[in-house]
């Protein structure tokens, strides 16, 4: 190789190369800009706004501006002074007159069950003609003289809150400022998270057990047969997930085809409850997820030359040894990619558990949807989404670290 004649020249050449590379990079980045902008506007920003609601809830602070100011001097123990009660009465009256009271009532009710009716009742009483001592009107309602009420307001009057995130993992602040588990009858989310991960893991395992031999078959038969098999795998892929789920409800119901066949074969004596059960849910999810696990495995298997196994045999490797030591390690990147894909997709399943799963089979997405659509508690929905996102990313990071991301690249 020829070297540059002197260092000054070499430096200017190096600078020129750098300049041209930078230009090249900027140009390719420029081509991707429309997509990046679209992603940012339609995906990144909305998600960030939604997730921020998990920790930023200004409803109470907005509803009680006077009370917030008055409470700054409060010690935090027991109930505050009369000045604060006057401020609260003024705030409640203002809310009632502006029509904001139900929003505030709902927000406090989410933190303190039963608060809603008390607030609405007090607000109506304050709004009546000829109330001379608003503070005593408030105090006459026992709800307002309970320390729990005031500690909840104290927590809520700061717009930044950890309440929802802690609730999402079944924790809460006690009145004396330490963390505690919520009572068992209210603790549902950790169980739902565990259920979601269990269902996702089961479905992933099932798709691997069914998909691996099929991928092997497709990669080893002649091309034309393989193409037909691939189409058979992909065909359901082209119908909407809703249609496939609906089809499974037809098949799995008590007097459906699956039960008919099982009964006819004598596998079972009575009709099984496959609908609204964990088994039915896993069957349907496995069917829907099979191509996601199978295709990455198949694409890796296709690149492995038949001579690899022949070489292993000729060197004295028995079929099982050769498979385990030569074939399988080369397929591992495909298995990992396929399983990771299926597992992560399963964590977010919504339609299938909603239609096929029973009450005890609802996954975390169903709860998130419920908070968004029915309860209108977007803060809780955001908190659950955030926890799910963190779990998923942590899992991905562990995968990437343990297996090495470079192994996901073809050799």
């Amino acid at each position: 190789m020829r070297t540059a004649p002197d260092t000054a020249d070499a430096k200017s050449i190096a600078a020129a190369i750098r300049r041209s590379q930078t230009r090249e990079r900027l140009r390719s980045f420029g081509l991707a800009t429309p997509l990046l902008v679209l992603l940012l506007l339609s995906f990144g920003i909305p998600i960030a706004i939604l997730l921020s609601r998990a920790i930023y809830d200004p409803t109470i602070a907005n509803a009680l501006p006077r009370t917030s100011v008055a409470m700054q001097s409060w010690s935090g123990n027991g109930i505050p002074d009369d000045e604060t009660f006057n401020a609260l009465a003024a705030d409640l009256k203002a809310n009632q007159q502006q029509g904001n009271i139900s929003e505030f009532a709902k927000s406090l009710n989410a933190r303190l069950p039963g608060a809603r009716s008390q607030i609405l009742k007090t607000a109506r009483a304050l709004d009546k003609e000829g109330v001379s001592d608003p503070a005593s009107v408030v105090k006459s309602v026992p709800f307002w003289t309970s320390p729990a009420t005031w500690s909840t307001i104290e927590n809520g009057r700061h717009a930044l809150t950890s309440f929802y995130l802690l609730s999402a993992v079944d924790l809460r602040w006690t009145a004396d400022g330490s963390l505690e588990r919520v009572p068992p009858e209210q603790a549902i989310f950790l169980r739902v998270f565990a259920r979601t991960f269990l269902v996702a893991a089961t479905v992933t395992l099932a798709t691997l057990i069914l998909g691996f031999p099929l991928a092997y078959l497709i990669s080893s038969v002649p091309k034309t047969v393989g193409a037909i098999l691939i189409i058979a795998v992909l065909l359901p892929f082209w119908t909407s997930i809703l249609v496939r789920t609906a089809a499974w409800t037809v098949l799995l119901q008590k007097f459906g085809l699956v039960n008919d066949v099982l009964l006819w074969l004598g596998v079972t004596g009575t009709r099984l409850d496959l609908m609204y059960s964990r088994v039915g849910l896993i069957i349907a999810m496995t069917h829907i997820q099979l191509p996601f696990t199978l295709l990455p495995i198949y694409s890796v298997m296709r690149t492995i030359q038949p001579s690899q196994m022949r070489a292993a045999y000729s060197l004295g490797g028995r079929p099982l040894t050769s498979f385990l030591r030569v074939y399988l390690p080369q397929v591992v990147p495909g298995i990992m990619a396929g399983c990771l894909l299926t597992f992560i997709l399963c964590l977010g399943y919504y339609i299938t558990p909603a239609l096929i799963g029973g009450a005890g089979d609802q996954l975390i997405s169903n709860f998130i949807a419920n908070y968004v659509n029915v309860e209108l508690n977007w803060e809780m929905a955001a908190a659950l989404s955030f926890i799910l996102l963190v779990f998923t990313m942590a899992l991905y990071a562990v995968f990437a670290r343990v297996l090495g991301l470079d192994r996901l690249k073809p050799v």
């Binding site: 001579s307 022949r310 045999y313 000729s314 030569v326 080369q330 050799v411």
Partner: protein, 378 residues
């Protein structure tokens, strides 16, 4: 890959010559046939033996059955008829992993997820060798191919030639008595290929191992082998030492496949012992050596090597013809003349590069009767 059933006299002839000693019959194919679909045959009635320590090359165009033959010996394919013995024992029922035969593949077939050392250790570890013995043998094998310091690398980090040497070491490390090579140098460039030919040849003589080598490159076959089996249409067209194949081809296929030949068509005038006279199509008579010629009136092909033709001023040869130079190709170590005979036949003549010839010049060509072989037209 397949041809319809046919038998030739050459195959019958090879079947008859069965060697007597065990060592000469180290590997033996007895009436082996292979068909994939029951109608056409990839290999037909193959009878062949390989002596212990021999370097035998299976040479032939693609689809001639040489790779199928090798795969049957390795155990990847089963003969549909006949039997293969190794060291006197039939191996037809032995799976490949019990045959103890080393194999080198065209695409190397190194295991990409293992290091060079792990690759070479694989045959030892599946045989449950001890750790020290394995290390010792792997190091010895890597020393042999001069790649000891690349032991920690992955095959993907090596050049083609280095990968092929690792494949060699892996096939030899468990000291098999028989090593099969399926076009092992096919993916290498010319210079590296020639270097590797020498290296394989050295390993062969150093280790005394028996090698069956498949190639479609005739110069590779001639360079490396003790004997060459020329395959055509699923059977052996001729088997013999490189020089016997070159100087005494038994049929037109071998004559044209090995080296270069001028082919002249004609009809036999008469045959007497080791001599015959042929009337060429388009005029002229030549004297040639008859191979399996029936007698007068038989259509025949006469094969004549370009280097056997001399340029002579007077007709001192058995055969002498006038020709016109139509072209000259300079090839460094020799000069190739295209000369047109008066009967219209174009001959290629190989002469020394100093020969002064110009296009259009009339020259007289001559060659010995012994150098041109007349075969019946098939």
């Amino acid at each position: 890959m397949t041809v319809t059933v046919q038998t030739t006299r050459q195959m019958d002839a090879t079947a008859a010559s069965r060697p007597n000693t065990e060592a000469e019959r180290f590997v033996e194919f007895i009436d082996v046939e292979k068909s994939y679909d029951g109608r056409t045959f990839a290999v037909t009635r193959l009878n062949m033996h390989v002596a212990k320590g021999e370097f035998l090359t299976l040479l032939g165009p693609s689809g001639s059955g040489k790779t199928t033959t090798l795969n049957m010996l390795a155990g990847f394919e089963r003969p549909t008829h006949g039997s293969i013995t190794l060291n006197g024992q039939p191996v037809d029922r032995l799976p490949p992993y019990e045959r103890n035969i080393g194999m080198v593949f065209q695409n190397y077939a190194l295991f990409p997820h293992m290091t060079v050392e792990e690759n070479v250790a694989f045959p030892l570890s599946v045989r449950k060798f001890s750790k020290t013995e394995t290390t010792q043998r792997v190091h010895k094998a890597l020393d042999m191919i001069q790649l000891r310091k690349f032991g920690d690398r992955r095959p993907g980090q090596l050049s083609g030639g280095q990968q092929q040497r690792v494949a060699l070491a892996r096939a030899l490390v468990f000291e098999p008595s028989l090593v099969l090579m399926d076009e092992p140098l096919g993916a290498l460039d010319k210079k590296l290929r020639e270097h590797m030919q020498l290296e394989i040849k050295q390993l062969h003589s150093m280790l005394g191992v028996t090698i069956v080598y498949v190639t479609h490159d005739q110069s590779e076959a001639l360079t490396m082998s003790d004997r060459v089996a020329v395959f055509n249409n699923g059977g052996i067209a001729q088997i013999g030492t490189p020089d016997s194949l070159y100087t005494q081809p038994a049929n037109p296929f071998v004559a044209s496949f090995i080296g270069e030949n001028n082919t002249l068509e004609g009809v036999v005038d008469h045959v007497s012992g080791t001599e015959c006279q042929v009337s060429l199509t388009g005029g002229g008579r030549i004297r040639a050596t008859p191979i399996d010629l029936e007698g007068q009136g038989t259509a025949c092909l006469v094969a004549l090597r370009p280097e056997c033709i001399q340029i002579a001023r007077s007709g001192t040869n058995d055969n002498a013809f006038e020709a016109t130079v139509e072209g000259r190709i300079y090839l460094g170590d020799h000069l190739r003349l295209l000369a047109r005979l008066q009967n219209g036949q174009l001959l290629t003549v190989k002469v020394s590069p100093e020969t002064m010839m110009i296009t259009g010049e009339t020259i007289s060509l001559g060659w010995s009767q012994r150098d041109c072989r007349a075969f019946p037209t098939q």
